[in-house]
């Protein structure tokens, strides 16, 4: 917990909440406005009394004036299910600081905000156990336990366990982001906020997975975490580059004189990704793993109206 989020940041996160663009559709009670009518202090509407209604909600003052029976309706406050897709593929283990560490911290920060707001937090780590050629990951290992525990967390009291389980996560193996997101879109019952934290450098693409989430009605936020070395490579010369996930080999000769071309190419890639997200109503944010977490959460995510 100490390593993921420092106490000062935790204190500031407690004052924040996730900004939901839509009303909660969850069936569980919470603190989010929903379209459902139920019990709360927020008055919503009247409707005519029908036998069997709870007499406690009769508006006696209205009965006196109109001589008809009306039932006072209140807005039902529901919880907002927050699903965080956390990329734990091999490519996330690179960078200085590691992209995965940064992604984990970000997930912890967002999850903590959600927990403080009585929202249900679910962290889906991909590649899942048994996927991506990692047979050592079995369900009974500490890693498996942590992953299972993170499937559904609710309440601020659970935050300690939430953070420690996050801390226990490890990254490795090749991931199929599209498949993981599609499976998530299929499996999650109640739609809510979805945060996808990844480097979006999956050779199989990310488009189909994100589109599936949007189609299910999730409010999707995508955060792309890139390492400083990916934005400004320090390697040069005649190189044989080996892909950490696929093992694919790319021969390239690189030097300082081609840096600007590379940066243009990366900027083009990010712009393409952002354009894709914008076209589907996905809020997007690209961060370098070298930037400070508080800067990302307190400034960048705030200005992007992700948290408030």
């Amino acid at each position: 917990m100490q390593t993921l989020l420092n106490p000062d940041l935790l204190r500031r996160l407690e004052q924040m909440q996730l900004l939901a663009a839509r009303r909660a559709k969850s069936s569980a009670k919470g603190e989010r406005k929903s379209r459902a009518r139920g019990q709360s202090v927020e008055f919503a509407d009247y409707r005519a009394y029908v036998p069997g209604d709870d007499l406690r909600y009769l508006d006696w003052a209205l009965f006196g004036r109109l001589d008809r029976l009306f039932i006072r309706l209140y807005e039902e406050e529901r919880e907002l299910p927050v699903v965080i897709f956390l990329d734990a593929s091999e490519s996330m283990t690179f960078g200085e600081p590691r992209k995965f560490d940064f992604a984990r911290q970000l997930a912890a920060a967002v999850g903590y905000i959600a927990l403080c707001g009585f929202d249900r937090v679910s962290i889906r780590v991909f590649p899942t156990i048994g996927e991506g050629g990692r047979p050592s990951l079995d369900a009974t290992s500490p890693q498996g336990i942590a992953r299972r525990a993170l499937n559904s967390v609710r309440g601020k009291r659970s935050s300690l366990g939430f953070l420690s389980h996050l801390q226990a996560l490890e990254a490795g193996g090749a991931g199929d982001m599209d498949a993981a997101l599609k499976r998530g879109a299929r499996e999650i019952k109640s739609t809510g906020a979805v945060l996808v934290i990844s480097d979006f450098l999956d050779p199989l693409g990310y488009e189909a997975g994100l589109a599936a989430l949007v189609a299910r009605g999730f409010q999707v936020t995508a955060v792309q975490v890139l390492a400083p070395a990916e934005l400004n490579p320090a390697i040069h010369g005649d190189l044989k580059l080996i892909d950490s996930e696929t093992g694919a080999i790319q021969e390239v000769s690189f030097g300082k004189f081609r840096m600007s071309a590379y940066q243009r190419s990366v900027a083009g890639y990010i712009a393409q990704w952002e354009a894709f997200c914008k076209a589907r109503g996905i809020r997007s944010l690209t961060v370098s793993s070298g930037t400070s977490l508080s800067d990302v959460v307190l400034r960048q995510m705030r200005s992007s109206r992700l948290v408030g």
Binding site: E90, S91, M92, T93, F94, G95, K99, D199, L201, D202, P203, A227, E230, I235, G237, D238, L239, K240, L241, I242, D243, S244, E245, T246, A248, I249, Q250, E251, V252, S253, G255, F257, R258, A261, Y262, R264, S265, V266, G268, Y269
Partner: protein, 613 residues
């Protein structure tokens, strides 16, 4: 197209290197990255923006190869045969005489002169030809006119200095004839200026440039050496050695005398600058052998510090005097030497061949003798072209007192009553001249030495003068075949060795001073063996069958021993020629730039491959 420097094509070996660079799979550094997605995108984009990327690489290779090929072609200096107006000619005359071996210049004067000449070759402009002449033991053309610098350099590098006196006159004559037909030509003489007899070039318009070499004169040397019998002790030989000092300081040294490499005597000498000292060694000689004098002084020129002379033991001299009676002559002959045996007769003896010389005193034999002859007042018709004229009391106006026959002989108070006067024939040189003709001649016909005197000594006052017995003694010495032989074995370096043959010789060879042997060509008609390559000082031995003949080749030259570099070349009375300073010349250095260009090209190729894909 032809090539001046075909060796330049050796650089073509760099062409495959370039191709190799291109073909070589460059060793790449393996590097694990998170994902190659961004790199793939980057490569795709950069290649997309340069669609001829791959092709451009090939273009680069072709351009590189083309450039390299051009440079290699330039290095091989191609030329095409065409016609140019006759260019100028530069005649280089290298003085290869003994004095050019002096070590006052480092390493020697000759090497410095050669380097100067090589620089001149470097500065040779296209179209200009060069001839290389060498004035050493002989004057010869070592390289006929050419503008091929490689050939010229090779010729110059193969030159060596000889131990002989210089033959500059002949070389300059050749240079003169070479430059006659070429309008813009120059003769460059590389010498220390130790030469005389250049008077004839004072009037000629020879375009001579004198490049002086040499810094100082620090040399002492043996300038003459001679062996004679000791008149006081017949068993002893008197060796006369003359040492001259041309250094600027007094030298204090010793002269050693060796007989067949065994030390016999030493004499200390102390010699002031520009002085010479005669030394006489009196030693006994047990057998025929070689006397060597050696000056132990260390100086700039080593060649003149030794001299050798062949000495044979004097044998008895047999003289046939054909006279009707002449006591003066008979006594003078008998006193001419310790072992002179005089046989008096009124006709030439039948066994003439056993006599060393024949003296004819007024008696003309029916057949002229074949031995060496001293003749008084006889007319042998086949010696002279025209009949002699009779002269009454001819006044003696001149005599050759430098000739060995007239050494210490004076005709100051000699009167002659009657004499035959002749015109000097081509084989002879005059000894005594009058206003109307020559009274005495001497010379050689074939190998027969002849001294002819036109008057009867008894009809003159000569026998009463001291000069007469001296003259007779000189004649006996000079006409003695042993003297003639020993003189033949004494040569100056550069002069040919001559060995008259008496019979058929099938096989002969020369042993040079350095010990190497060289065969001599002989054929059935050969009457004389001649060997000309005597540029080195020392002993030459001709071996023919079981016979061995030793020749002593010595420098013994005052001018060569005087190492003073002459600031001006003496062209006789007509003037002098001052030594020139270095002439500005355009020295070709393009090769170095071409080489650097080649290097830069290779560097660029390597650099390119180091940093790019």
């Amino acid at each position: 197209m032809n090539f001046l420097a075909p060796l330049g094509f050796a650089f073509a070996a760099s062409l495959p290197v370039v191709v190799l660079f291109y073909l070589l799979k460059r060793k790449r550094m393996a590097h694990v990255v998170s994902s190659t997605l961004l790199w793939q995108r980057f490569l795709a984009e950069t290649q997309a923006s340069a669609p001829f990327q791959r092709l451009r690489h090939h273009w680069l290779l072709i351009l590189q190869l083309l450039l390299l090929a051009l440079v290699v072609l330039a290095l091989s200096r191609p030329y095409s045969k065409g016609k140019l107006p006759a260019g100028s000619l530069q005649v280089v005359v290298m003085d290869a005489s003994a004095s050019m071996q002096a070590t006052d210049e480092s390493p020697t004067r000759f090497d410095v002169a050669r380097n100067e000449a090589l620089k001149m070759v470097d500065g040779l402009t296209p179209g200009t030809e060069m001839v290389i002449l060498v004035a050493g033991a002989t004057a010869e053309v070592r390289q006929s006119p050419t503008s091929d610098k490689g050939v010229l350099r090779r010729t110059l590098r193969n030159l060596t200095a000889t131990d002989s006196a210089t033959h500059l006159v002949e070389a300059l004559r050749v240079a003169d004839s070479l430059t006659q037909t070429r309008p813009a030509s120059e003769v460059h003489l590389f010498s220390d200026g130790a030469a005389t007899g250049l008077d004839e070039f004072g009037t000629k318009s020879l375009p001579l440039v004198y490049h002086r070499v040499g810094k100082r004169s620090n040399n002492a040397g043996i300038v003459s050496m001679e062996v004679r019998a000791n008149p006081e002790d017949p068993k002893q030989r008197a060796i006369f050695v003359s040492v001259a000092n041309y250094a600027t300081n007094t030298i204090d040294s010793t002269v050693e005398l060796l007989f067949d490499d065994q030390l016999k005597d030493t004499q200390p000498i102390e010699l002031a600058p520009s002085n010479s000292v005669p030394l006489v060694f009196l030693v006994e000689q047990p057998r025929d052998g070689v006397f060597t004098a050696r000056l132990t002084h260390k100086d700039d020129l080593a060649v003149d510090n030794t001299a050798s002379v062949l000495s044979r033991l004097p044998g008895p001299t047999k003289v046939a005097l054909v006279t009707v009676g002449n006591r003066f002559l008979q006594k003078a002959l008998a006193a001419a030497g310790p072992a002179v045996e005089v046989v008096v007769s009124d006709k030439v003896p039948a066994d003439e061949a056993s006599y060393d010389l024949v003296v004819l005193d007024g008696i003309l034999p029916p057949e002229p003798p074949k031995a060496n002859v001293l003749a008084f007042h006889v007319m042998v018709t086949n010696w002279f072209d025209a009949p002699a004229q009779n002269l009454e009391t001819p006044p003696i106006v001149d005599w050759r007192n430098t000739h060995p026959l007239l050494r210490f002989v004076s005709f100051d108070d000699v009167q002659i009553a009657e004499s035959m006067g002749v015109k000097t024939p081509p084989w002879a040189s005059p000894l005594i001249d009058t206003t109307q003709g020559t009274l005495a001649v001497t010379g050689e016909i074939g190998r027969q030495r002849i001294v002819w005197v036109g008057f009867d000594p008894l009809r003159s006052s000569w026998p009463l003068r001291i000069g007469f017995p001296i003259f007779v003694a000189n004649c006996v010495d000079w006409l003695n075949p042993a003297t003639a032989r020993s003189q033949r074995f004494q040569i100056h370096t550069g002069e040919p060795l001559r060995l008259p043959l008496t019979g058929l010789v099938s096989d002969a060879r020369v042993i040079l001073p350095d010990g190497s042997k060289q065969p001599l060509l002989t054929s059935s008609g050969t009457s004389e063996l001649i060997f000309g390559d005597t540029g080195k000082q020392g002993l030459y031995t001709i071996e023919s069958g079981t016979n061995r003949y030793v020749y002593c080749a010595n420098l013994l030259d005052l001018r060569e021993s005087n190492l003073e570099p002459r600031a001006e070349l003496d062209l006789g009375q007509r003037g002098t020629l001052a030594a020139t300073a270095t002439k500005p010349a355009n020295l070709e250095i393009w090769r170095w730039f071409a080489l650097v260009g080649l290097g830069v090209l290779m560097l660029e190729w390597w650099w390119f491959h180091r940093r790019t894909a």
